[in-house]
Point group: C2
Chain length 458, copies 2
C-alpha cells in the first residue's frame, strides 16, 4: 500500500512540476508577446510615417513582381527580372532624399561599370584564349583595390559610397560573366533595364505616395532643438526662484547635445531632393548645420549652467531675480528664433536688439554683483556660485547672439518672407526687453539704496 501511494505521490509530483513548467513557458511566451506588441505600438506612435513607409515598400515590391506575373514581360526579361526586385528591396529608403540618392547612385554606377566591364571583356578577348582569364583576373583585382581605396575619401564616403559598391559589383559580374557567356551584351542590357525599372518604381512610389522629405525633417529638427533649448532656459529662469522637477528637461538637453550625426545624415539626404513645398532645389541646408552646431555649443553652456542649480545658492533676491529674468529672456529669444526658422519668416527687423539688451543686462548684473560685494560682506559665502552662474549666463548670451546671426543669415540665403503678424512679434520682444531693463534698473536701485544706507550707517 505504502509503495503504491509513494508511486502515486511521485506521479502527481511529476505531473505537477511538468504542468508548472508548461504554465511558466506559456506565461513567458505571452509576456514576450505583450512586450512585442508594446514595441510595435511605440514604434508606430513615435512616428506614424513608419507604418506608411512599410506599406509603400510592400506596394513597390508588388509592382515590380509584375515582371514575374506577366507572361510577356517575363518572356522578354527572364531571370533578369530578379534585379528589379533586388533593386527595390535595397534602394527603397525612408526619405525621398535617401531613396533618390541610392537610386541615382545605383543607376549611374551600373551604367558606367557595365560599360567598362564590357570594354574589359573585349580587351581581354583580343589578347587571346590563354591570356583572357589572366587579364580579366588582373582587371578585377586592380579595379577592386582602387575602388575600395577610393571609398575611404571623405567626400566619396559621404555621398557616393553606395555607388562605389555597386560599381565594384557590376564591373566584376559583367567582366567575369564574359568568360562563361557569349551573350554578355544581351545580359548587360536586360540587367540595366530591370535595374532602371526597379529604381524608377522606388522613386515614383517614394515621391508620390505620402513623401517623407529629409529636408523638411532637418528643418523641423533644427527649429525643434532651438525651441527645446529655449524652453529649458525659461525653465531654468523659473527654477532659480523655486524648485521644479527637471529630469525630463535634461533629457531634452541631451537630445540636442547628441544630434550631430543625425543632422549631418539628414542634410546629406536633403541635398539629393528636388524642390518641394516651401523648399527650393538648392535650399541652404549647410546653414542649417551651422545653426545646429551653434545650438549644440549653446546647449553645452546651458548644461554647465544647470550643474549650478543643484548647488542651491541662496543669492540675494535681487540678483536671483535678474539671473532668472535674464535666462527667461534668453529662452524667449531662442524660442522666437525657433519660430522664425519653423515658419520661415524673417526674425524681427532688428535681430540683435533683443540680444544686445541681454548683453547690457549681463553687464549690469556684473556691476551689480560687484557693488553687492562692496555693500554686504556677509553674503560673500554665497557670491562665488552666483558669480559663476552670471559668467556662464554671459557666455550663453554670447551663444544666443551667434545663433541669432546665423538664423538671420539663413533668412537672407533662403529668402524668408516677412511675418504676417511681424509687428506683433517685434512689439512682444521689445516689451520683453523693456521689462528686463526695468528689472535690472530696479535691482541696481535697490542695491544703491542698500549701499547708501550702509554708508550712512558707517
Amino acid at each position: 500500500m505504502q509503495i503504491e501511494s509513494e508511486n502515486l505521490d511521485k506521479k502527481v509530483g511529476f505531473f505537477l512540476s511538468g504542468w508548472l513548467w508548461i504554465k511558466g513557458l506559456i506565461e513567458k511566451f505571452f509576456a514576450k508577446l505583450r512586450e512585442i506588441a508594446k514595441q510595435i505600438e511605440k514604434t508606430a506612435k513615435d512616428d506614424p510615417r513608419r507604418l506608411i513607409h512599410s506599406l509603400k515598400v510592400g506596394v513597390a515590391l508588388t509592382l515590380v513582381s509584375l515582371f514575374y506575373y506577366c507572361q510577356p514581360l517575363y518572356r522578354s526579361f527572364g531571370v533578369s527580372s530578379m534585379w528589379a526586385v533586388m533593386t527595390v528591396v535595397v534602394v527603397f529608403e525612408f526619405s525621398v532624399g535617401a531613396t533618390l540618392g541610392k537610386g541615382l547612385n545605383r543607376g549611374m554606377a551600373t551604367l558606367v561599370a557595365g560599360g567598362l566591364g564590357i570594354g574589359a571583356h573585349y580587351l581581354a578577348m583580343v589578347a587571346g584564349k590563354t591570356c583572357e582569364p589572366i587579364l580579366i583576373g588582373l582587371f578585377v583585382f586592380l579595379q577592386a583595390v582602387a575602388s575600395t581605396f577610393i571609398r575611404f575619401f571623405p567626400k566619396v564616403k559621404a555621398r557616393y559610397d553606395y555607388g562605389m559598391l555597386i560599381f565594384i559589383l557590376t564591373f566584376c559580374l559583367v567582366a567575369i560573366s564574359g568568360l562563361r557567356s557569349d551573350e554578355i551584351i544581351e545580359i548587360a542590357r536586360k540587367r540595366v533595364l530591370t535595374i532602371l525599372v526597379g529604381a524608377l518604381t522606388c522613386v515614383v512610389v517614394s515621391v508620390f505616395i505620402y513623401p517623407v522629405w529629409a529636408g523638411e525633417d532637418l528643418h523641423l529638427l533644427v527649429a525643434q532643438h532651438l525651441d527645446k533649448l529655449g524652453h529649458f532656459l525659461e525653465g531654468f529662469g523659473e527654477r532659480c526662484l523655486r524648485t521644479i522637477e527637471e529630469s525630463d528637461n535634461l533629457v531634452g538637453l541631451n537630445t540636442v547635445l547628441d544630434s550631430k550625426s543625425r543632422e549631418e545624415i539628414l542634410a546629406n539626404f536633403a541635398r539629393w531632393e528636388p524642390g518641394h513645398g516651401k523648399f527650393m532645389y538648392r535650399h541652404p541646408w549647410k546653414q542649417y548645420l551651422k545653426i545646429a552646431s551653434l545650438t549644440r555649443q549653446c546647449a553645452s553652456r546651458v548644461d554647465s549652467l544647470n550643474a549650478y542649480l543643484n548647488s542651491k545658492s541662496h543669492a540675494p533676491k535681487e540678483i536671483q531675480g535678474i539671473i532668472s529674468s535674464m535666462s527667461r529672456e534668453s529662452g524667449k529669444a531662442l524660442r522666437e528664433l525657433s519660430l522664425a526658422v519653423e515658419t520661415m519668416t524673417r526674425p524681427s527687423p532688428y535681430p540683435n536688439c533683443h540680444v544686445s539688451s541681454l548683453k547690457a543686462a549681463s553687464k549690469n548684473l556684473n556691476s551689480l554683483l560687484k557693488s553687492e560685494l562692496w555693500g554686504e560682506h556677509a553674503n560673500l559665502l554665497q557670491v562665488i556660485p552666483v558669480a559663476a552662474v552670471a559668467s556662464l549666463l554671459d557666455d550663453t548670451v554670447t551663444s544666443v547672439e551667434k545663433i541669432a546671426d546665423a538664423v538671420d543669415e539663413l533668412s537672407s540665403l533662403a529668402n524668408f518672407g516677412n511675418a504676417i503678424g511681424g509687428e506683433t512679434t517685434e512689439d512682444k520682444s521689445r516689451n520683453g526687453v523693456v521689462t528686463l531693463v526695468g528689472i535690472v534698473i530696479e535691482g541696481s536701485d535697490q542695491v544703491k539704496k542698500g549701499q547708501s544706507s550702509g554708508l550712512q550707517a558707517g
Copy 2:
C-alpha cells in the same frame, strides 16, 4: 592686302585663343591630378590599414572568382556563382566585427528566408493553379510590410538591419521564382551554398590577413580621448601662467566632443568579434561606452573652462598658481587613467586618493578665494572670473572622479592585471599630490600672513 592681313590676324587670334583654352584645360587637369594624388597620400597616411584593406578585398574577390575560372566548379554551380561574388563585395567590411556581423546576418537571413520562401511556395501550390499567384503576391506584400516595420525597432536596427534586408530580398526572390521555375529547391540550394562560400571567404581573409579589430580600435580610441583631454588640461594649467597657442588643442577637444556615434558603431561591431589578443569574447565593451560618455561630459566642462582663458583674468599670483597646478594635476590624473586603460593595467590601488586630494585642494582654493576676498578689496574686480574658473574646475574634478570610478569598474570587469611598474606610478601620483597640497598650504599661508598683517594694520 589689308583684308588678307586681317584674316591672318583673325586666324592667329583664333589659334592663340584655342591654344590658351587647351593649355588652361591641361593645367586644370594636372592641378586636379595633383589634388587627387594628395588626397590618396593623405588617406593612406591617416590610416595605412586602409591600403591593406583594399588589397584584402582584391584578394577575396579573386578567390571567389575561381568559381568562374574552374570548369568543375562552374559546371556544378553555373550562374549561381554570381552570388559568391556579390556576397564578397557587399559583406567585406573594414573591421573583423563588421564583416562577421554582416556575414552572419546574411548567412542566417538567407537560410531562414529561403526555408520560409519554399514553404510559402508549396502552400500556394496546394491552393491550386489560379490561386497560386494571388497567394504568393499576398505573402510577399505582407512579409515586406512586416519586415520593413520591424527594421524600425531600435534593437533590430542596431544589430540586425542588414539581416532583415536580406531576409526580405531572399524571401521575395525564392517565393516569386517558384512561379516560374520548378527547380526551386535546386536553385535555393546552389544559392545558399555560394553565399555561404562567399561569406566564409570574407571572414577567413578578414581574420587571417592583417585583421582590423573594431574592439581594439574602440579600446585605443577611448584611451586616446582620455589622454587628449588630460593633455588639454595640462596645457590649460600652463596657459594660466603664460600665453601659448591653443588652436590645435581645441581641435582635439572637438574630436572628443563629437565622437559619440563613432564609438557606438565600434562597440556594436566589437560585440560580433571573437576573443583576440588581450580581449576575451565577452569583453565589457559597454563599459567603454560609459567611460567615453563621461569623458565627453568632462570635455564639455573643459570647453567652458577654456572660454575663460580668453577673458585674461589677472588673478592674484597665488590663486593663479593653485588653479594652474590643480588643472595640471587633473590632467595628469586623466593621463594616468588613459595609460591604465591602454595598457590594461589596474589604476593605482587607491584610485580615488589622487582625485580626492584634488577635491581637497579645490575646497582649499574656495576658502582661499574667500579669505582673499576678505583680505584685499582692491582685487574684487578680478575675482568674479577667477571664482567662475574655480567653480568650473571643481566640476571638472568631479567629472575626473567619475571617470576614475568607471575605469576602476572596467578594470575589475575585464580583469586587468597589475602594472609592472605599479609602485612607481603610485609613488609618482603621490608625489604629485604632495606637491599640490604643498602649493595650496603655502598659498593659504601667504594669504593668512596678508590677512594678519591687514588685521594688524586695522
